[in-house]
């Protein structure tokens, strides 16, 4: 009793330093952790197979990453709001077919093909956002449903046919190989998207609202944040980016049937979470999400290079996911424990 009272005399201000340092430390550790794991994989693989770090392979990894990172940026923005978009794989698949099909069907120029992909993504994103935000249905259920619906539409549209390389112009199929000062153009373009998204999330009120909504939806309501509009916006962006990614998918794989990008959504969610975006929203960054995509693609390629079966790649991605989520949870527990200890010291 008397102990509690005397401790209460200590000013509150001095004690705020330790939890803050803890949080900062963990957050930095998180981004830093991705880079360390990344470096370790690159180094270990390079020691075994030097060709892993030659220009061609690095360019290959970056090009592969570009597509995943693009989708991951949109997904990260959705997850930040304590939602999830499981339909991105289906959107990429549908967009890839519908957009690339414009070459054969209408001899459309490349710009139009990209716009068609974007439009497909926008439509899907608007549907997801409207049902989730306005209909107030949990996004997990909504996007699980649209995952199948969009894939179903894809299957009907494609039928037994497929888009083949011969119908697509070489200028389109060469996009993944294009470089500027040795760096793949796709990687640069996606880096710009990541930078714009990061800037938006940090410097615009509506961007900060996304974090606030995920951090505490009830508090967001009391703060007068237009939750429905913001969540809707996040889904539209996620859909739009997935739509554009579909066109990139088409340029990379050339042959597109109704199974294109099947299961991509889980790899994307994995990349986002490994990249440090909390699965229950409120924290993380699109840069982290992009790094997460880079890490998973690098591991993929590294295991391939040293001759490990691609089956293992998925297991390792899963393992990283568990590590990332466990780390999140451990941090939460550490912090609430710290809070409780502090409250006890201050007395009730």
């Amino acid at each position: 009793m008397s102990e509690g009272r005397s401790a209460a005399a200590a000013p509150g201000a001095g004690e705020t330093a330790s939890p803050r340092r803890l949080v900062d430390f963990v957050l930095r550790l998180r981004t830093f952790g991705i880079i360390v794991v990344l470096a370790a994989f690159v180094l270990a693989t390079a020691l075994d197979q030097a060709r892993f770090v030659d220009g061609g392979n690095i360019r290959f990894i970056l090009t592969q990453t570009a597509l995943y990172a693009l989708v991951a940026v949109g997904e990260a923005m959705v997850i930040m709001t304590r939602n999830v978009d499981l339909s991105v794989g289906s959107i990429v698949g549908l967009s890839a077919y519908v957009s690339a099909n414009q070459f054969g069907a209408h001899h459309a120029p490349i710009v139009v093909v990209f716009l068609v992909g974007l439009a497909v993504g926008l439509v899907c994103g608007i549907a997801n956002g409207a049902i989730t935000a306005i209909g107030r249905v949990p996004s997990l259920v909504v996007t699980l449903a649209t995952l199948y619906i969009i894939r179903g539409v894809d299957t009907i549209v494609v039928g037994s046919g497929e888009v083949v390389a011969s119908t697509e112009p070489n200028s389109f199929l060469n996009i993944p190989q294009a470089t500027v000062i040795g760096i793949p153009v796709l990687a640069l373009a996606v880096a710009v998207v990541v930078a714009v998204a990061a800037f938006y999330l940090n410097y615009f009120r509506s961007g900060r609202d996304l974090y606030a909504i995920g951090s505490d939806p009830a508090a967001a309501r009391l703060a007068g944040i237009p939750i429905a509009r913001r969540v809707f916006g996040a889904f539209v962006i996620s859909g739009a980016l997935a739509g554009v990614a579909g066109v990139i998918w088409a340029s990379q794989y050339a042959t597109i049937n109704s199974t294109a990008a099947n299961g991509l959504e889980l790899q994307i969610v994995a990349a986002v979470v490994v990249g440090g975006v909390a699965i229950f929203g409120g924290s993380g960054s699109v840069v982290g999400a992009a790094l997460g995509a880079l890490l998973l693609q690098t591991i993929n390629s590294a295991l391939n290079t040293v001759g490990v079966s691609s089956l293992w790649t998925e297991a390792i991605a899963g393992f990283l996911l568990v590590v990332a989520i466990t780390l999140d949870r451990a941090v939460q527990l550490r912090l609430s424990a710290a809070l409780r200890r502090r409250r006890v010291r201050l007395g009730a």
């Binding site: 009793m1 949080v23 009120r205 995920g214 508090a219 409250r343 009730a348």
Partner: protein, 516 residues
Amino acid sequence: MGEDSGTAAGGEPILRLIDATKAFGAVHALEGVSLELYGGEVHALVGENGAGKSTLVKILGGVHQPDSGMLVAADGSELVLTDPRDARDAGISIIYQEPTLFPDLTVAENVFIGRQPRRGRRIDHGAMRRQTRVLFERLGIGLDPDRVARGLSIAEQQIVEIAKALSFDARVVVMDEPTAALSAIEVARLFGIVESLRSHGAAVAFISHRLEEVFAICQRVTVLRDGRRVMSQPLEGLSASDLVRTMVGRDIAAREHVAREHGEAVLRVQGLTRAGIFEDISFDVRAGEIVALAGLVGAGRSEVARAAFGIDEYDSGRVSVGDRALRRASPRAAMDAGVAFVPEDRRQQGLVMDLSITDNIALASLRRLRRHGLLSAAVERRFASDWAGRLQVKYGRLANPATSLSGGNQQKVVLAKWLSREPAVLIVDEPTRGIDIATKSEVHRILAESASRGVAVLVISSELPEVLAVADRILVMREGRLQAELIRAEATEETIMAAATGQAHVLAPVLEEDAP
């Protein structure tokens, strides 16, 4: 109420609520309540639990819209608040009992969320940080604007909320029980801030159960009872007992009480402590006795019961049943020792809503109903219909889901579920919350009958008439400690309320009162 009190206030109120009524379903939370908030004045809003204070606060904050009645601003125009943003734009700031910060955002961002200072269209993080620091200096606290809100103490969270109010120059600041979780020093600091808000001309509405605080900082008081305003006047000339009498002053229902033989102490709680929640709680409940744990919401009553039953951990102390000490944090051990616990929230914790009435009643007794390890539907049904009959549950068919029952009958099913285990100790948390009056008295009868059969009953209740109707002995908790122990003969609504609000120096104190 039209006359002015003669404090710093000018003639007209800054904010006036006129004749507001709000109902949630059949429950009338507010009926024709008016409130006048004057600049330069701290206005106390007091009343028992459930008197309608929180609803009033949420109307002022734009969270709820009144069914009828209106809000009028200082210039005489009507204010329509359709959401919290409107309230903020009207210069009204609400500091809720549970602070509403974003744990993942920085303190500065929490202060300015939705209103971040901008350069062009971009948020100016530097300016936001500087302005936050200035606000904190004005409040005399050295919080770092860049730290995240996660991990802040309740007191610090409130400071952030107050900084938010200052940042948009709120003319009306409503504080809903801001001191409930604060230490004496933090309360003193908060009072300093309230005083400075007042002297700057803001109207402060202050809600507190601690009457000494009301007298320390308020100039005017409004008392709510059962959703109606029963008093609104300057505080000067009133005493604490005036307020207590006004708060509880309803007709006290006739109490018929059958004397019961009390046996040996069955449930023994000794020195139970959980840091920051409750402290040094000791009491006995004897066979055939009903003991009520009274006190205000947040005094730690439910927490004590949960810890005694083993749902929550406790730091030190001892719980025993008969001469058997209970393993801590093990509801299973408590149940094996013959303790039954009926939780507060029957929808979430007491019943499986989608299961049938039969299944719900039999659920806690399945082991006893087994024959050769198997359950027979017929045995279960007979068992359930027997207990449903004893407790006079009104149901359509026993096979219907629990959702088909009214709230009162759901509560009877929960009671049947536990009483059918024939427990030695029955702990009931808020047994009649949200139940109509007729069923209420039936629940009281069930509790009395259980006690007559020799069960030791511990009832937690926020409703004083209920406490007085059922209890043989009343333990009053205040801020995590046992404040008073009243035997039936000396208990009145006034004595309980006085103990619960810390006015109980005249009563036999269980513990020395050491707070200032």
